[in-house]
Subunit: 400 residues, 2 copies
């Protein structure tokens, strides 16, 4: 749905919406039992939400397309992830809590190993420790080249974020990472004439970095890619007239929420602590994005039974959330991460909406298979926000 | 889904995908029994694919729109048939294995009968034999009019393809076939000024043809329509990084496959022979389009029980295909051809995907009605390729 139209239809109202996002929620059957993580877990409270609410399956992007965390969440917040693409560098910056200003350009960086002829022998510098990475970042941090300030932020192991700050930086650049060993790092080139000056500056920085790192084998060179600026996203306040709060512990999700204009709460990482944070802030906001990361991590690790246990933990905490009696409760995920697949996947994600006006369907169980017959059918994830808004009586009539 | 994005996400992998297309697969209930062709046929192997796989219904174009064979297949190969339209002349040329060059324009032709006043009395010239058609085509073949070379290719009975070759041919032309008898053939007119010269040349050719054919009653005149050039389609190799093989016996489907960049195998027409061809080529390719024509023909002929028998024949051959253990098996059709309807129809087409990661649903039976509750829901036929690619782990993540 066109956000311009949603913006025209949306009105402020006292009703409160809680969107509980279990990262990587959807699963696949364990080949032994034929049951998915949700079908295996004992989750009476989630089942009750399914029974009283309306259920369905949501495609974050499109059938067959596996979403990254950025696009998956944008879709949940109602932004078409194909229309609003966040550059890799910007997302990596967001992921470690860096707020990019309008004159900032971020890039993803790797420390790598080159031989004495400058040929890459290891694109990850033997996966140096995060501590070593931080130490090396300090050596390169704080340079200024032709009035462009350069800051380096360690991420994890060999990975860092480089932030270039100054006027007229242009992102139309090729990357220096050749994506393979046995060749030299590539020169950064401008993809459009407008970015030529930026390319020159980046290449000078890379040359400097090589000098500085020469004695730091195996991390004796850097590779840069994914040049990007802060994406321009209309805020949820404008579009939905909401006063939204994000309750998330991981920097990536806190960053994503702030990109769409949410306030971001200080919170502990566990579900109980997040519900406590929700309770504490319940009167001050009218939309709450409550993010649970560990279900995804368990899926990524291929740990079926851990994902099952985490679902049961969330289920056990649910009554404390329900006690707040939100006018609209949405429970869904940003994408599926089936443990038997061991990573994000394209499978549509279960979504349940519970409200006074949800039009309860016949589904009794919170699971992928049960939700196929849910009242929402198979929807696009960007439909979830308009549905939540409508259930909260925050969307007026279209046309007379 | 935008093919540009699919192209960015797709990667080569060893996994093999077999797409079995039963032309005209979907049906309608026999009014006597209330059961469709699929519901009447005894098809335990197809039922097993439905039970183990994920099922759904696909719209080749859009609800209510009946597809021709060209658009139906383009959608199955992932090309939006509204964005990629193949002109009738080009499709007819493709259908008899003619490869059109960039300076070629094709038209569909009929031999017809006119009386001594030039009025059409039979638009099909009494359905002359294909041999007679070939003989008459020879009489008209090889003319050159104003530097435009004209070649005629017999198709079947009264039908032929005319190929005009030369510079500046323009397809914006009206047709000469009035679609009824009792009137004279229409003059070809330019729909845009740019095509005026082409129209003049075609009209000269038609006049010449009338002269040459004057003594060949009942085939004493020709009708031309569907002027078209070769469509520009990105190849499946580019988009999907696949090495695809078409196993089809009818020229139309062989031609369509070659338009999207598939290799086309020599094969016998029966399903067993096609599976033999599949087996022989199994190591050399990673995507196989296996086309079964006769299910559609039976539907077109309104022959319910023949369609049922053909479905049972396909079912009986399925274990030989399954023995190859393709990583992803897709079974679907290019459109519905219900026998009680006697032609292509708009009804969505059953589609089943079987793979290790398909997320099995609760469907147990391969039928239109059972598939309504399938896990894929109701999808667009262009979603089938991304889903097949995803199931074969040939699509990387969108965004980070």
């Amino acid at each position: 749905m066109d956000l311009k139209i949603i913006e025209e239809l949306s009105v402020q109202s006292p009703e409160k919406v809680v969107m509980l996002v279990l990262d990587g929620l959807g699963g696949l059957p364990d080949p032994e039992t034929g049951r998915t993580e949700l079908e295996t877990a004992v989750i009476p409270n989630l089942d009750a939400v399914a029974a009283e609410g309306i259920c369905g399956l949501a495609d974050p992007i499109a059938p067959g397309i596996t979403p990254g965390s950025g696009p998956g969440h944008l879709a949940l917040f109602g932004y078409d992830p194909l229309a609003y693409q966040i550059g890799r560098g910007a997302l990596e910056a967001v992921g470690i809590g860096i707020e990019l200003g309008p004159d900032d350009m971020a890039a993803r960086g790797n420390f790598c190993t080159v031989d004495d002829k400058g040929i890459i022998t290891d694109r990850r510098a033997g996966r140096i420790s995060t501590e070593k990475c931080a130490e090396l970042c300090k050596l390169l941090d704080g340079m200024t080249i032709e009035e462009i300030d350069i800051k380096l932020h360690p991420v994890r192991e060999h990975r860092f974020v480089a932030v270039f700050s100054g006027r007229d930086l242009q992102i139309e650049l090729t990357e220096s990472d050749p994506s393979r060993t046995g060749v030299a790092p590539l020169e950064i080139k401008a993809e459009h004439a407008i970015a030529r000056n930026t390319a020159t500056i980046i290449n000078k920085f890379i040359a400097k970095a090589k000098e500085v790192l020469s004695a730091h084998h195996p991390a004796n060179m850097i590779l840069l890619r994914g040049f990007a600026k802060r994406p321009q996203l209309p805020s949820m306040k404008e579009i939905y007239k909401l006063n939204p709060l994000a309750i998330a512990a991981y920097p990536m999700y806190r960053g994503l929420a702030s990109l769409v204009g949410m306030a971001v709460a200080d919170t502990g990482a566990g579900i109980e602590e997040k519900i406590k944070t929700l309770r504490k802030n319940y009167l001050k906001y009218d939309f709450f994005f409550l993010h649970i990361k560990l279900t995804d991590t368990a899926g990524e690790d291929g740990d079926f039974s851990r994902k099952v246990k985490l679902l049961e933990q969330v289920d056990a905490a649910l009554p404390a959330l329900a006690a707040l009696k939100p006018d609209v409760l949405v429970i869904t995920g940003d994408h599926s991460t089936p443990a038997v697949f061991g990573g994000h996947s394209w499978h549509p994600v279960p979504v349940a909406i519970l409200s006074k006006y949800c039009r309860t369907d016949g589904v009794k169980e919170f699971s992928e298979k049960a939700f196929i017959c849910g009242g929402m059918g198979r929807i696009h994830a960007t439909d979830i926000m308009p549905l939540a808004m409508a259930n909260a009586r925050k969307l007026t009539k279209f046309g007379a």
